[in-house]
Amino acid sequence: MTVSSIQSPVLLASYQRAVHEYADPLKAFAARMLAEDADWAEDVAQDALLALYRHLHDVPESAWRPWLYRVTRNLCLDRLRRRKHRPKNFRDYADDENRDPVPPGTPSIRPEVRAQEVEMQRDLARAIEELPPRFREVFLLCERQGISYEEASSILDIPLKTVSTRLFRARQRLLKAMATHLDDQ
């Protein structure tokens, strides 16, 4: 492959759009996959986009999105595997405390309702982090990233039925973890 082949303005324009479009979602996906190592999420998203740049001519444009998610997921799994060898119990709750899980623009509500909502969101975020990676990745892709079962099946290289089953199980676990909150509704 020559450099001139990568100089197509149209391809570069498409790549630029891809960076614009996918940087945030890839970081978000990586952050929740990595949980305790969420600080690495931005680097992971950047590594994935850099890899795409190096493979612009290998990967058809229509496959960029699944390709990027796949690379991001692989990088996250690598990091999680390495973390296994580290002692646990280093969860930094201060980070969670500082993170405001309510999206900007949310209408102002009574402080006690807001506090309850924040607590629910924090517990849910933690419950997602505690899902086994094989359930977590399906849940994040389909539920948070809005990816279809079919595309998730292609990203994760698992049968469609397995996507459905894992998503079902992930939801069941989260329901269990959030039972107190959801019963309160």
Binding site: Q7, V10, K27, D47, R54, R70, M120, R171
Partner: protein, 339 residues
Amino acid sequence: MTNARMPSCRTIRSQLSEALDGRLGRVESREFHQHLIACPACRAEYDKLAQLQQLTGSLRDEPVRDDFRERLLARIEAGEGARPEILRHPTSFAHRAKFFASGAATAAALLISFWLIVDGLKEGESTSLPDNNGEVASTFSNDADAIDALPVGNLDAVDPNRFGLEAVQRSQEFYEGLRSQAARVASHPPKFAMEKLAQQSQALIESIRFLDVIDGTLLELPGELRSNLRTAASKAKYVLATAEQQDASRDSVQRVVDELLREIPSLSASSRSIKIRLHGNGIDLQRIVTGRARSTDEAHRFMTYAWKHLVPRSVRDSKNSIRVQFTLPAVPNLQRNGR
């Protein structure tokens, strides 16, 4: 609950997740919802899953830092290759890593140019992209300063036939997206479903409005397609109006979904069916849009839409370089009194 004609609770529980995602077939979905009406226990379970989905949707993610693209660019410029571990896992997409050590800066320079252009569109900065001969194409010369302020460039490299076709196809994609969304969201919590449908409707309305603006000047759409586009737009407006009601209920979602899934007009078109009136050495899209937009804000949105979504597609097969120069000060107040 047990009923010979209804699926058992066990079956229903196993379908909850797929039902939530709108993945049940028509018959299964009907049986599922009939069961929910008759079975409070399963309904409660389903409602909890729907609450969980809503709560998941409200979680906030941190966006990338402002200097994300600059740092990425610096790595590209430095010729940094993909880290080996990225491709280590066997994947059907993964290809053997190939690095481009030589000449990376040249490719990066082009990339910088594109980023500056898009930044300019967003932030009102000025920049230019040299063509292959190192020249900078001239901007449009217009009388009114206000018109000059719109994000527009010389469209020499754009194939007008393709541009028109892409504009129609874009609307078609939004319409299909809206309909497939409708098929999925009926079982979602009403507020969530309405938000999703409203977003997609807004995109469709905007794309059809853009076609309406250039129809009769830049393009001439076939009569049937024009009428079908208007039908699609009116459906989308109905969805938006319903979605904006405060009390989104399951009934209102269902009404919207029924409307969207009813017999639909075709929005497909071939390049032969669309006549191009203005073509050749640059398309005065700016003048047309400014003349027909309802406000500066709308004109600005249309130009941005065209540059972001249509121009890159419409030069796809062109061997020419894109010769553009943007001048993007803040958009002045160009309020018009409707059309």
